[in-house]
Amino acid sequence: MTPESQEFLATFVSESYYYWASVFMILIHVGFLAYEGGASRAKNVLATMVKNLLTLSIVGLTFFFFGWWVYNAFPLFPLQGGIVGPWTDPNSEGVVGEVLGLVQASYPWSPALGPNVADNLTGVFWFAFSLFAMTTASILSGAVIERIKVGAYAILAVVLGSFTWVVAAAWGWNPYGWFLTQFGYHDFGCSAVLHGVAGFFALGVLINLGPRVGKFDAAGRPKAILPHNLPLTMVGLMLIFVGFYAFLAACVIYLPGQTGEITIYGTPMTLASIGVSTTLALCSGITGAYISSKADPFYTISGGLAGIISVGAGLDLYSPAIVILISFIGAYTMPFVGSAVEKAGIDDAVGAFAVHGYCGVIGAMAVGVMATGYPQGDGIPLTGFLGQLVGTIVCTVILGFIPGYGVSLVLKKLGMLRVSPEEELSGLDLAEFGQEGYPEYPIVAAQNGRATAPVAPVPQAGIQV
């Protein structure tokens, strides 16, 4: 084998690794589609699933237009420098010069994103990051089902999926990000950077969106709106689990010329330990949520995700036994947070805040308690409580809750946020598509939260003996 072919082989291994990890990440979206479709009522199943489908288009395109540039352009802003872009001096040196090289490869007109035999890797990293972005927006989609306008959701998905979480990633999941360089922040699996941002963004939106009709009685007591297909919801979450393995594998950095696997922060790690720790977190999370929710099927299976998110930030550092304990605690307490949100009058249809927002905070802060003192480079502070606290607050409050609340408030004031009560009662499938998700089956109106039962046409052609 010639040196040239060996060099190409190393490039191809890296290119293939991220390509297939990203392909498997699409299973997260298959899972979200099934999960949220099952969690909705039968009269809203099509609208819910189409909204999930549109998430791919909305975030995929906007991430190409500007999201990828945001990730590469924002790491130094505001503590170490400005936003890097076409206005930056092309002769810049030092860190700005290094960042500028990445920024120039991230413009939508960049030759690095098209077929280019001189660059096999920029495109595949864009692919992986775009799926991260779609995942973030999908977290919001579950919380707002059954009453949000598709247009409002599209705007919110762009803000969350292609901007705010990307800024969080630029600051906290980037070797040049100031969370790392100034505070020693460590968030391997994006607990706060992705899940925390999305969960708190969803909370801000939910406050303005309001609950579904019939969710609370006259006295403000919550009433159960049951999923129309809980088995589909559970299958969906199982698919999300599969996708999460790929998501976490894609967080491993392997580039040609490296002598070992590293994290985005440049610290050593192993892919094998990600397999062990993710599995243990999944198992432990399910047991924790099972106990605390008293075997509630919805919370129990969400516990697997809660467990993984609770250890995500330190997944590359924790010993297996520590993984079990942290994921258990995160998942055990998650149902209580879900109930508290409900008692506060907020209708989070899939528990997105409890699973992603709350467990995202637990995950990021757990590093500050259980994985302190890790070095991440010369001149960079050791991992610790303060660094994790700063990063977590910025992610959840400044990049999560405030943008979510602010944008949804503007949409609400303009009457662009929520469907009319009539549309909500008749079901979004009829209102948006003029058809039902299950046209062959008569659905009991009272159980489906509908005012009047539609008269389904009987297919006469089928009655032929």
Partner: protein, 174 residues
Amino acid sequence: MSSPFTTIEAFNDAINGPTEGAIYTFAQSPVINAIALIASAGLFIWFIVSTYSGHDSKSSSVDKSLEHLSTFFIVGFLSLMAAEYRQRPQATLTAKAIDAEQSIQYSQQQSTQQQFAQQRVSPPERLSAKATRQQSIAPLGLLGMLGIGANPLRQLGKRGRRKKRSPRGYSRRL
């Protein structure tokens, strides 16, 4: 600090460091991870117990089979404790035997009767290995016997109580 490293150089060169490549939390103080492991096992037992608890809000009663499970856990724990207790004196005896045999072997090597000495050493070593195996199997066997025997014993006890109660007319009252 839960990190086994203080510098990035030591972290990157972990394979040549005191932890021999281990980079996980508390790798430098394994006792903490051992405690965490025991706590994890405790949580798992809690989970198993909770699967027998009544989850339906209409019936807050506890499944009767939980009694069998509790018995299983307690007896298993006691069995392991007993095995640990018995292994310690045995280990001491084995060590003494090995020391004695080694001294014999040494003296016999000195008298150029090496082959004969090896034949003498081998049987006690085999015996001690066999004894260790028996020790490790003992608690498992005890657990299995109790698992099989506990339920019939309990049913037998119930029958016995029923026989005693029947003359008092409890069943007729019900």
